[in-house]
Each structure stands twice: as structure tokens, then as C-alpha cells.
């Protein structure tokens, strides 16, 4: 390994997993639940894998920024290979917008490069601190799902390295089965070393933004229909209110401004959430108050403005480590997609169950998914309504609510999003994703995750993590 001149102030002492039962785990997911110890290794070069997992007995998993909420990016007592040092740009065509980069590059780093050159991500989630590899592995979606589909639709090719050392070039025409299994494949089919993505042209950082208040699911559905030709739509919904305020919210829509304006690089965030809040701070009263303030912050029925893309897409990225707000126990996310057939009744039923439970959800996000298909075999979105909620973890209460919501999702023909899950059962997973057995054929035998062990592990007879 080439090296630079730095001080070795302490003799090299590789940290061994399992040596330290106490202390924080070396790698956490964004929900900070569950907490698993693991060995964490860095991949600096494409050639470092699979050498990095030589002699590993307890399974391995590639991880990036740890922005998925549950256990798709964790592996109890296993080996995590982190890709974030493998973040080089490899090629960019300024005419077609085709960008090739190593898989550990973050969407933030891609934006820093692309925006001054007049390009933007074809699909972006609500945080830019995810890696390219993670975006593919979870086949992430954004506010333009009804136009652009998922992230995987804009990936033209990538390299997949298997634990036996085989390096596979994957695209819709080369190893198409592995291409489809790896998009939304939760990192289980191999390690992506580099990928190519088609960016889209922009002429301004600004978004033509409109915020519209709505009351009730039917107003939300009307606004969704009216916004069919608008690229980005998403709604914040107040899940704490009942009665006449039930399902009130703000429908947010926007398009990239077509008026040329300076394409500068974004500044770096300056705020970091300073500490873990004690669990009692987020309760029904404080979250209800927050929701009221958020709703009434927009005084008018409708607001039109030009807004920078940072607050439009990444409002929470302005505060680093905001998950500390949820305290030591962390948070649980819940996100379903329910098909149109039952979308309306399902959403009402779930929102009623949440309101009745009195368990606070700060951020409830409602959106209609479109019908653009994903190349990913295990992709989460499907045409209908998606609702994302998050709750501070209060073991007895929030787990019971979660399990009820998961069952309701199943009854309404919907499914949950593995990247935001820490609770779905094996039976639920297999009902949500009946294609899982076909997918399992493409799984790399050396790779697994906390999620996979939980929902499938027992059945396949692979290494059980629960012990």
C-alpha cells in the first residue's frame, strides 16, 4: 500500500471486533437501532476487495454513509467494508451528462462537481449524504418519482465484484440479471466498485417552488392530480391532529428554474446537533406543537417563491447528526407504499391508527409514486401512495404500533421499505417481496446483513446472527 509521511504516534493496533463489548459500535445506522458490534474496514482502492474480507468467517457487507435507518447496513459481529474512501471521479461527458465514479462517492460530492458544470442528480433522496453505491443498493427514490422513477433507472452500468474475486460488468445488456438484482439488492449481490450515472442538465440552482395547504386526503389527491406535470412533489402531513384538522398538510411542488442563474458550489453545513436529547423531550405535546407551528408557518393557503435547491431537497442536511435529537435510543422509520387500489383507505386507516396511538411523529411525508418501472428486482416503490413516518424508540409502545402498521400495510396490499425498516417479520417480508427467492439466487454467499438475517436467514439456513 503506498503511503504518505505521517506520524505513527501509537504502534499499529488493528481494532478487533468483539474485543470491546462496551462502548459505541464502530458503525451505526441513521436510526441508531439496532446496535450491533462489528469489525469496520476501509476500502481505499477498487483492488482492495475482496482481499479485505480474506479469512472473514462471520459474513461481510459493504457500507457507505450509514444513512439507511434500520439494519440493512449493519451486520452483527460481522465485517463491514466501508467504501467512502473509494470516492474518485473517473469520467464525465459534458454533452451527455454521463458521470462515472467510484461507488463510495457521496451525492454531495457529485453535486459539488456537477452543479457548477450545469448538471444535477436525476433522482435525489432527502439527504445528499449517501453514497452512489448505497443509492443503487437501496434503489432510492425522490420527489420526482412520478416523472423519473427510481435512482436505478438512471444508472447505465457498474462493476460488481463478487467475494470469489470475479469482477462482473453489469448493464441492461451485460449480465442483465445481476444488473437487476444489484439495483435494490441491499448490497447482497456483491460490492459495487464503480458506477455510471446519467445526470440531467440545469441552468440554475433555484427551484420554482409552491407550497399549498391542504385539509384531508382528498385535497391531497386533487393536488397530486393537478401537479402531474410538475417534476417534484412531496407533502408534509400533520399526523398529530384529529377531527377537522385530520390529515392536514402542506403540498410542496417545484420545478428547476429555467431562468439562467449562477451555478455556484454549495457551502458546507456549519451546524451540528450538539448532543443527544433525553427521551422525554420528544413527546405528544412538543411534537404536536411543532406540527402546528410548521403548518401555520405558512400563513397563506398558497405560497410561490424561488428557493435554492439545498433547502428544497435537503432541509435536514443543514444540521449534521440531527438524529441525535432522538436521544440515545434512536428512532424508527416506517415507510409504506400502498397501491392505488387501496391507497386512500389504507392511508386514512394508518393515519388514524397513528393519531390514536398518541405516539408522536415529527416528520411525516406523503407522496404519490408514479408508474415508471425500476430495473431493480427488489425495488420498493410501486404506483400508489407512500407515507414515511418516524418515531423516537419507546420499546413497548412504538414497537407495538409498528407491528400493527406493518400488518395493516400487508392487508392493504402494500409493502415496506427495507432501507427504513428494523421491524418487519420474515412472513411480512416474503409477502411484500414474493420475488425474494429468485433474488436469493444472485446473493453473494459471503455477504449478508442484519436485515437479511432477520427476514430470511433462518429459512435459508445460512449463518444465524441472533445466536
Amino acid at each position: 500500500m503506498p503511503s504518505s509521511a505521517e506520524l505513527d504516534f501509537n504502534a499499529p493496533q488493528p481494532t478487533e471486533a468483539g474485543d470491546k463489548p462496551a462502548g459505541p459500535p464502530p458503525f451505526e445506522s441513521w436510526g441508531r437501532y439496532p446496535e450491533y458490534n462489528a469489525e469496520l474496514k476501509q476500502l481505499h482502492w477498487q483492488g482492495d476487495y475482496p482481499r479485505a474480507i480474506d479469512g472473514v468467517h462471520h459474513g461481510a457487507l459493504a457500507v457507505g454513509m450509514g444513512r439507511s435507518y434500520g439494519d440493512v447496513c449493519l451486520l452483527k459481529d460481522g465485517t463491514l467494508v466501508q467504501t467512502t474512501s473509494m470516492n474518485r471521479l473517473l469520467d464525465f461527458d459534458p454533452v451527455t451528462g454521463l458521470l462515472t465514479a467510484e461507488a463510495g462517492i457521496t451525492l454531495a460530492q457529485i453535486l459539488d462537481f456537477a452543479v457548477p458544470r450545469g448538471y444535477f442528480l436525476p433522482v435525489t433522496p432527502g439527504t445528499k449524504y449517501v453514497t452512489l453505491g448505497g443509492a443503487i443498493a437501496n434503489d432510492i427514490h425522490g420527489k420526482n418519482h412520478h416523472h423519473a422513477g427510481t435512482f436505478g433507472r438512471h444508472v447505465t452500468q457498474f462493476e460488481l465484484v463478487r467475494s470469489n474475486g470475479e469482477r462482473m460488468h453489469c448493464s441492461p445488456s451485460s449480465n442483465p440479471d445481476y444488473f437487476g438484482a444489484t439495483i435494490a439488492g441491499m448490497g447482497l449481490t456483491g460490492v459495487i466498485t464503480w458506477a455510471q450515472l446519467r445526470l440531467k442538465p440545469i441552468v440554475s440552482r433555484m427551484i420554482d417552488y409552491q407550497g399549498i395547504q391542504f385539509h384531508g386526503i382528498d385535497e391531497f389527491l386533487d393536488l397530486t392530480r393537478q401537479a402531474e406535470n410538475i417534476e417534484y412533489t412531496v407533502s408534509w402531513v400533520d399526523v398529530t391532529s384529529t377531527g377537522k384538522n385530520f390529515c392536514r398538510g402542506i403540498f410542496m411542488q417545484g420545478d428547476h428554474s429555467q431562468v439562467p442563474a449562477p451555478l455556484t458550489v454549495s457551502g458546507k453545513p456549519k451546524l451540528t446537533f450538539p448532543m443527544e436529547l433525553p427521551g422525554f423531550v420528544l413527546n405528544g405535546a412538543t411534537v404536536g406543537a411543532f406540527n402546528s407551528v410548521f403548518f401555520n408557518k405558512q400563513m397563506k393557503k398558497r405560497v410561490n417563491t424561488l428557493q435554492d435547491y439545498e433547502p428544497f431537497f435537503y432541509p435536514l442536511d443543514a444540521v449534521l447528526k440531527w438524529n441525535r435529537m432522538y436521544g440515545k435510543r434512536g428512532l424508527l422509520q416506517f415507510q409504506y407504499a400502498i397501491p392505488w387500489e387501496h391507497a386512500r383507505e389504507g392511508t386514512i386507516a394508518v393515519l388514524q391508527a397513528v393519531a390514536k396511538s398518541g405516539l408522536a411523529s415529527f416528520l411525516a411525508v406523503l407522496k404519490a409514486f408514479g408508474d415508471v418501472p425500476s430495473p431493480g428486482m427488489m425495488s420498493f416503490p410501486k404506483p400508489g401512495i407512500t407515507l414515511a413516518l418516524d418515531f423516537p424508540i419507546k420499546p413497548e409502545k412504538s414497537f407495538a404500533l409498528f407491528d400493527r402498521l406493518a400488518e395493516m400495510t400487508n392487508e392493504f396490499g402494500g409493502r415496506l421499505y427495507p432501507a427504513k425498516d428494523a421491524r418487519m417479520t420474515s412472513a411480512q417480508f416474503q409477502a411484500f417481496y414474493p420475488q425474494w427467492e429468485k433474488f436469493a439466487r444472485y446473493k453473494d454467499p459471503a455477504l449478508t446483513s442484519g436485515f437479511w438475517e432477520r427476514v430470511v436467514g433462518g429459512q435459508l439456513g445460512v449463518r444465524g446472527v441472533g445466536k
Binding site: P2, S4, L7, D8, T15, Q46, L89
Partner: protein, 280 residues
């Protein structure tokens, strides 16, 4: 898989020259105060060097990169090219072979069309335990970290002094300031290098050549991975940002992060009868 060339080879990959204005857009180009600089990086795949290369490429500098491993060099060069370096040349070479230095350096300067900065980032951490038992291991550390840079600097000093221009930026280490039991072989190679570079500055600064002794504290890179406390080491991007500025200015002695100037001042004054009993 990566292939480590058994015999050193010199390869040339020169791309068509683009003007820096084409290569870097908007603010990126505006950051460059002097127009594009012609920068030679020796040991281009080291963590600190690569982070500097990204910043130089972002502002459209002309780069020539030398490293041992062809696969690693190829992706570092691709990254710099994509970011908008106005020129990329590269050579795969094992700089332990001092006999090849003249050829590699002449090639680089011809490719760049001159030289504004030479950044020497070659070096190995080595294994202190091995080096204690086995002179060959110690010899290897001394050769890569001290003998090879001396050979390169001898050639580069004569070239730049003749022209009364240029910056020779040399990556040494705070480890060279005082020998410690945990890494005195590495430390002594850097102590030798520091003394050589300081002396060279004394000789050719008056000729108009900036000679820089750069002393990083522990930095989070591939080299330091797995060391105790490495999570708290300095962030390589921040280190590179201060180095790029320091190299633009041509500072004499640079500690990065700056706090190490203070830390080392304290460590240097600890009386030896105390120091020899410490576990550092």
C-alpha cells in the same frame, strides 16, 4: 485485481492540453490566483498527495503524477482529469530505483513544459517491530523515506536553482522531531529528510527557489488505518486544503494541522531523563 509491477516501468499518458478556462468552470477557476501551475507529484497515490491533487485539479492546474502501482495511479489520474486538470501526464515508476530518477524527472518536466512545484510525497510507514529485528526492513524504510528523496531533491535543486524559480515541497513528518520507541526507524528517516531539506533551503532559497519542510501530524489515510486512535486523526481534506495554500505561499516549515507546532515544541523540551521512560 491490482498488479504491482515487478520491474519499474516508465509510461507516459499525456492528454491534449486544454486551457484552464475550459477545464474548470465558474468559481472553481476563479480560486486559482496565479494561472495554472505545473505541478509534479512524486508518490501520487499517497493519501495526502491525492487529496492535494484533487484541489489542484479542481482549479485547473497542470499535473504530472508518479507512483508505483499502475492501477492506483490510473484512478488518481482519471479523477484529476475529470475534475479539470489542464494537463495530466503520469508515469508508473518505483522511485526506490535512484538510477531512474533523472529519466523520470526529465520526462515529467518535458511533459509539463516546465516546473512550478515539485511535491515529494513518497514514503512508507514500515513496521517498527520488523525493523528492530531485521536490518533489511530498516534499510528499506531509510531508503524510501530518505535516500530516494535525497536523490530526487539533488536533481530538482540543481534544475530549479539554475532557473531561480520553483517550489520544492517535501513531506516529512513530526515523527522526525524526536525519536520514540514506537517508530524511531521511521522517525529517523524523517529526521534525516528534515535536516536535508532545511539545509537545502539554506543553500538555494537565495537563488529564488522555495524549499518547504512539511510536517504533518497523524492524518486519517490508508497509511494510518487501524492505528489506535485513528478515528481522531486529522481529516485529510482539511490537511490538503492548508497544504495547497501553504505551497502557494511557499512557506518554509509547515506543521499541519497547525497545533502540531505547539505539541512538538512541548515534546522537544521534555528532558531526556524523563522522556526515555515515557511510552510514546
Amino acid at each position: 485485481m491490482s498488479t504491482e509491477p515487478k520491474t519499474p516501468v516508465v509510461e507516459e499518458q499525456t492528454l491534449p492540453l486544454r486551457t484552464p478556462r475550459e477545464a474548470s468552470v465558474g468559481e472553481v477557476a476563479a480560486e486559482q490566483p496565479h494561472g495554472p501551475r505545473r505541478i509534479l507529484v512524486l508518490g501520487a497515490t499517497s493519501g495526502i498527495a491525492e487529496a492535494c491533487i484533487r484541489l489542484w485539479a479542481n482549479r485547473g492546474d497542470a499535473l504530472y503524477l508518479v507512483a508505483r502501482n499502475a492501477d492506483k495511479l490510473a484512478v488518481v489520474a482519471a479523477d484529476a482529469r475529470t475534475r479539470g486538470a489542464s494537463h495530466i501526464g503520469s508515469a508508473v515508476a518505483n522511485l526506490d530505483n535512484t538510477g531512474e530518477h533523472a529519466e523520470v524527472l526529465a520526462h515529467a518536466i518535458n511533459s509539463l513544459g516546465g516546473l512550478d512545484v515539485a511535491f515529494l510525497a513518497l514514503g512508507v510507514l514500515g513496521d517498527q517491530g520488523d525493523a528492530e529485528k531485521n536490518f533489511a526492513a530498516a534499510d528499506q524504510i531509510l531508503h524510501t523515506n530518505f535516500v530516494a528523496p535525497v536523490s530526487l531533491l539533488t536533481w530538482l535543486a540543481n534544475y530549479t536553482a539554475q532557473r531561480h524559480a520553483g517550489t520544492l515541497a517535501v513531506l516529512s513528518s513530526v515523527a522526525g522531531e524526536r525519536g520514540r520507541k514506537s517508530n524511531y526507524v521511521y522517525g529517523s528517516s524523517k529526521a534525516g529528510l528534515t535536516a536535508f531539506v532545511d539545509g537545502l533551503r539554506n543553500r538555494i532559497d537565495r537563488e529564488g527557489v522555495r524549499v518547504m519542510t512539511i510536517k504533518p501530524g497523524p492524518v486519517k489515510t490508508a497509511m494510518t488505518e487501524g492505528m489506535k486512535g485513528s478515528a481522531k486523526f486529522a481529516d485529510v481534506e482539511a490537511v490538503a486544503a492548508s497544504l495547497v495554500k501553504a505551497i502557494d505561499r511557499g512557506d518554509d516549515v509547515v506543521y499541519v494541522p497547525g497545533i502540531w507546532r505547539v505539541i512538538m515544541a512541548v515534546i522537544r523540551v521534555i528532558p531526556e531523563r524523563v522522556f526515555k521512560k515515557m511510552n510514546l
